[in-house]
Structure formats: C-alpha cells, structure tokens
C-alpha cells in the first residue's frame, strides 16, 4: 500500500464538519486520523463503529469501513464484527452518554471479555447532541439543561471504572494535550485486547455555555487548568485528585484476547466431536 497521509483517511467532501465552532470532537478526529497515519492502517481492514451523539457522527468523516448503530450499543455491534472476523482492526467511538451512561454495561463487559477492540470515549461532560443534559460523567455542582439548580450526582471516573472491569489498557487524554492524546490512541490501537482511551473535550455550546465558558478557548483553558499528569497526581491528596482530570496511562498489561482464546476452543471442540 502506498504511503497514507492523515488526510487520506478523511472524507473531505463532507467538510466543513458538522460540529459547532470550538467543539473538541474535531480534535479527537484529528488525533485518530493522525494515529492512523502513524500506523499506516489499512482502510479495508479497519472498521469504525460509532454510537449516536455529536461525537457519534465522527464516522461520517473517516473513510474506512463504518458502522453507525444505535445510541449506547456501539461496543456490542463491534463485538460481533470483531469476533466474526478477527483480522479486522475495530475502533469504537462513543460519547460519554453513549459509551458510559446508556452504554455502560457494554463498556464494562467488553473490558472484562477482552475482545480486541479500541474504544475511544469523548467525554464532553454532557449530552451534546440532545441539548446539553447531564450525563454519567457530568461533574457535581455544574449546570446543564436538566440540572438547572446545580447537579447533585458525582460523575464517573471512567478510567477507574474500566480498570475495575478488568481492561488491559486504560488511558485518559484531553483535547488540550493533543499530542499526548494522539500518542495514547496509537498505543491503544497497537494493544492486542481491549483498550480504552477517554478524551476530555469541550462542548462550548452546551456545557460551556451553561458553566461560564461559552467559547472553545475558554473551555480549553479550563480543561488545561483542571488537568494534572498522572505523575503529578500522585502528589495530590485523594480529595484534590478527585476534582482533577488525571491524564496519562493507568493500565497496560498483557492478557490473551478473546479471539486468541477461541482458537483453542475450536481445537478442543473438533476433538470432542
């Protein structure tokens, strides 16, 4: 295959992007296609599976194979795709609502089952697509279109959750630290087994607007100010840490993936007959 540039993976005739000005989705898309370039991914053998949401429209701009399913179920569709053809490289792009609120069960089970998928959750702390209601990651005390008096739930620490579910690769990046984000995505794509990358991203239109950060730059600055590196985080008290976006790689261990194990089942079953 000829040398692919990052924008060879883009569907440019669909540009300009659907997303609002200052939305972080475009950055994550950029990090992904640049990771593709780095890995020289084969379009034909790649499937991008998306859910429903603003970020769920990302597959419109990626010219690999694509599956655009229902809200919250991307990982389940992806599991079928990958197990049916283990040769495929399967990326699963989900929002925080999609991937961690309605789709939380598929997320933890996919992590546990260790199917060789790469899940990228863009966490913009609310439901962008439907008008900025609170999601399972919305921080306590923030305002959304359905927490007009301030939100009273704690948000998930998604990386902790996915680690607790048993995933072999877990990392968090942010759109502000864009270079690191790309690096984590490359690592995740290289990982054999279930890999999970959370990307903290701005939704200026909804989360930003309702929390005093109407523009992309304001939201980016806020993300920057509220992020700490995993190393620095160690120095913080648990209470301080809970309020920060801790960025970096949390888990990276070797575990045989599902399809590899299934090969052994085939061998046993043949003999059992």
């Amino acid at each position: 295959m000829s040398n692919m540039k990052f924008d060879d993976y883009l569907v440019k005739n669909k540009f300009p992007l659907f997303w609002c000005g200052g939305c972080g989705n475009g950055n994550v898309l950029g990090a992904i296609v640049r990771a593709f370039e780095e890995l020289q991914l084969d379009r034909k053998n790649t499937v991008v599976v998306t859910g429903i949401g603003c970020w769920g429209k990302a597959d419109d701009y990626i010219n690999t194979n694509a599956f655009h399913g229902t809200h919250g179920r991307a990982l389940a569709f992806a599991t079928g795709i990958k197990l049916a053809n283990p040769e495929l490289k399967v990326l699963v792009l989900m929002g925080d609502g999609d991937g961690a609120t309605i789709g939380g069960n598929h997320l933890i089970h996919a992590a546990r089952r260790n199917v060789d998928l790469t899940a990228i959750v863009v966490n913009n702390l609310n439901y962008g697509m439907t008008g900025g209601q609170y999601s399972g990651t919305t921080p306590e005390a923030s305002y959304t279109s359905t927490s007009p008096y301030g939100h009273i739930e704690q948000g998930f620490d998604l990386c902790k959750l996915v680690e607790g579910a048993g995933a072999p690769y877990v990392a968090r990046g942010s759109v502000y630290n864009i270079v690191q984000l790309q690096k984590l995505i490359v690592e995740a794509l290289n990982k054999k087994g279930f890999s999970f990358v959370e990307a903290i991203a701005p939704c200026p239109t909804h989360f930003g607007r309702r929390n005093g950060m109407k523009t992309g730059p304001k939201m980016l600055n806020w993300i920057k100010e509220n992020s700490v590196n995993i190393k620095q985080a160690e120095k913080l008290s648990p209470e301080e840490r809970e309020k920060k976006f801790v960025l970096g790689k949390f888990v990276d261990r070797d575990k045989e993936d599902y399809s590899t194990k299934y090969e052994k089942i085939f061998a046993i079953a043949e003999n059992a007959e």
Binding site: I52, D59, A66, G69, A76, G80, I81, L88, H109, Y262
Partner: protein, 380 residues
C-alpha cells in the same frame, strides 16, 4: 457430520440450532432465557465443532447488536430468546431493518406479558413480532408447528433473510420448542441454501444500499476489497446520513415494500382438506397440531372442516385468507392469546362471514375439543 443426516428424536429447540448450522450460520450471540435456552446450549456445543462462534452477551440488546455486527462482517448469524428478551431486542431489530442486515431472531414464546410464566406456552407475541419496533418497517415472521418444521423452516428463515437482506423472526412457542419428536436432519445441497448477493462492481462504485433490479442491494463483508458504511439512521444509497424528504420516503417505503411486494415468494401456507371444506380453521404454530386433530375428529363426524396453516405469519397472507373467506361459510381461529391473528383475518374478511376465535391464555395448549366447540359456534 454423519449424524447430521440422521433421523433424530429431539426437541424443537435442538432442531432449530441444527437447522441454523445446516443453513450455514456460524455465529450465535444470545442471552439465555427459558424456554429458548436449549437453542443456546446446543449452539454452544455445535458451533465450535464447525468453526462457528458462540458468545453470550451481557443482555439481549447486546445479543442482537452482536449478530448484526457479525452478519455485516460476513457470518450468517442468529440469536434466540423469549418474550422479555424479545422486547429488549426491539430497538436494534430496527437497525437490522434500516441497515438491511440479514439475521435470524428466534422467539420461543412463553406465557404472559412481563415475566409471566417462564416454562409455560403461549402465542402472545404475534403482533409484537410485526410491530414491536418503532417506526414503519416490514418484517418476515415464520412459525413452526413441529420439530421437523424447526429444522426445515429455520433453514428457510435464513434463506429468506439472505435473499431479502432483512431480519427474519422465527416465532416458535414453548410447546414446539420443548417437545421431542422425530426429525430428519437432512443435509441441504448448495442450491437449497441462499447466500446474500455480494457486490461484483468495481469497489469504488459500490453503494451498499443501492438496489439491483430485483430491489435488493448486494452486501459486501467488512475486510474485503469493498470499503463501505452501514447505518441505522436514515441514510441514502451510500450509507451516509441523508435527511432529504424524498430520500426518507424512498427508503422507509423500501423496507416495507421489499417484503410486501414479494409476498408471493415469501408466504408459505399449508392447506389441509380445504378443497371441499365448508368451515376452515386458520391456525399457526403449536395450535396447528390441535387444529389438525380437531379437523380429523370433525371429518370423522362427517363435518367438512379444513385447515389453513399460516406458516408465514408476516407478511400476512391477505390474499390466501381473503380467498378462503370467500369460499367457506365460517372460520375458526384458535390462538393461545386473546385474539391477534383473528384481527387480520377480520381485516380481509370482505364478505363478512362469521369468524370465531378460540382463545386460551391459561398457559395450557388448546385442545382439539375446544376447537370443535368453536366450529359448532360458527356453524350457528
């Protein structure tokens, strides 16, 4: 697979799993539920023996999602469930419709709405199988009445699913699923198996939702030369989202039309003693057995009774039933529900002949005698 050609004395659920494998299915994803679990269990043993995958998902929503994904990745796939799980599958059933993904969903019906009675039979999901998912759509629903049917018609279900690029519901019931009966597990020859059309055009020109002249678009598999996109949102021929009214109109009609306009090919009816019948029993699934027994008894009593078995429940056999209503003096519709198929019979009953339902929801099979009573009622 020598045993595959043998006569077996097995449960309907086992025959369904064997039928799926015979049809070429190589991927099962499901979540156990009584009274369908034997389909899962037999599949978990048998699929890996033929290079197929069995995977249990975290729920029924994930199960149908996984078989849809697997199908687009090139494997014929299926799942099995019962009412509660079938209800959970409704949203993603719509994806299979919208994205035109072949797959077979087996619903072994049990008693009651909600959790009901897990081990008891009913035929309460007839309308749900047609209308359970939101929005307009067409669907094929096949209902077996014997263990042999479970085998034969499962193969047929896959064939129709592949031919029309559509999900097919295999609507069994606890009686047929759990009863043991003789079944001949024949090995289908290649021409008895239909596989989805693959594209033959230049990969650059491939549009996954552009129908051929027969109205059905070829479906490539992920990982081939054909790079393509599949979507559960309203999309155009390319699979990209498209909200133009004429596009919506075209595709939403297409999902219904490709089923309704091919009724001739899809609908299977079985006619028993209808040539000279004055009264007919219109039936399906396990109740067919009671109906045939009732017919036998009635004939012995000198009554000209025939049976029309709706092997295909949906698309509904409008023409066949309409014609029947023109010929006979009355119709009895026995159902283990409170009257679902009978609504459709009434809809096409243009001559307004008497139609009587024999409805039973106490979780026991309808007896032949109850049907005979129905015939007496319609005679009056």
């Amino acid at each position: 697979m020598e045993q595959n050609r043998r006569i077996r004395f097995i449960q309907g659920n086992e025959a369904i799993a064997e039928g799926a494998i015979a049809a070429g299915a190589r991927f099962y994803a499901g979540y156990p539920i009584t009274p369908s679990s034997e389909v899962a269990e037999v599949s978990s043993v048998r699929l890996p023996q033929v290079g197929g995958l069995y995977v249990q998902m975290e729920d029924e929503i994930g199960s149908i999602a996984a078989i849809i994904g697997a199908s687009v990745a090139g494997k014929k796939s299926y799942t099995a469930t019962s009412g509660p799980g079938f209800s959970l599958m409704q949203e993603n059933l719509g994806v299979a419709v919208m994205a035109e993904v072949p797959c077979v969903i087996i619903d072994v019906q049990r008693s009651g709405p909600s959790t009901g009675l897990a081990t008891k039979p009913a035929q309460g999901d007839v309308m749900q199988s047609r209308w359970g998912t939101h929005g307009d759509h067409g669907i094929i629903v096949i209902s077996p009445s014997s263990v042999q049917d479970c085998y034969d018609l499962t193969i047929q279900a896959f064939n129709l699913s592949e031919k029309y690029r559509t999900p097919v519901i295999f609507l069994a019931d606890e009686i047929v699923g759990h009863m043991r009966e003789k079944a001949v597990l024949w090995e289908p020859s290649p021409d008895q198996i239909i596989n989805r059309k693959k594209p033959t055009c230049d990969p650059k020109d491939y549009k996954p939702f552009k129908p051929d002249e027969d109205g059905i678009a070829p479906l490539a598999a992920y990982g081939s030369e054909y790079v393509f996109r599949v979507s559960g949102s309203t999309h155009d021929e390319t699979g990209f989202a498209n909200s133009k009214p004429d596009n919506a109109d075209r595709f939403i009609r297409h999902y219904t039309d490709k089923i309704e306009k091919n009724k001739k090919d899809i609908v299977i009816l079985r006619r028993f003693n209808l040539e000279d019948a004055e009264y007919a029993i219109v039936t399906f699934g396990c109740s067919t057995r009671s109906a045939l027994e009732a017919m036998k008894i009635a004939r012995n009593m000198g009554k000209k009774v025939g049976v029309l078995q709706l092997v295909t429940l949906w698309p509904f056999a409008d023409d066949g039933v309409r014609e029947l209503c023109r010929k006979v003096k009355g119709v009895v519709v026995p159902e283990m529900n409170l009257g679902q198929v009978i609504r459709e019979v009434k809809r096409v009953n243009e001559n307004n002949i008497p139609i009587v339902g024999v409805n039973k929801v106490n979780s026991e099979a309808i007896t032949p005698f109850e049907i005979l009573a129905g015939i007496e009622e319609v005679e009056r």
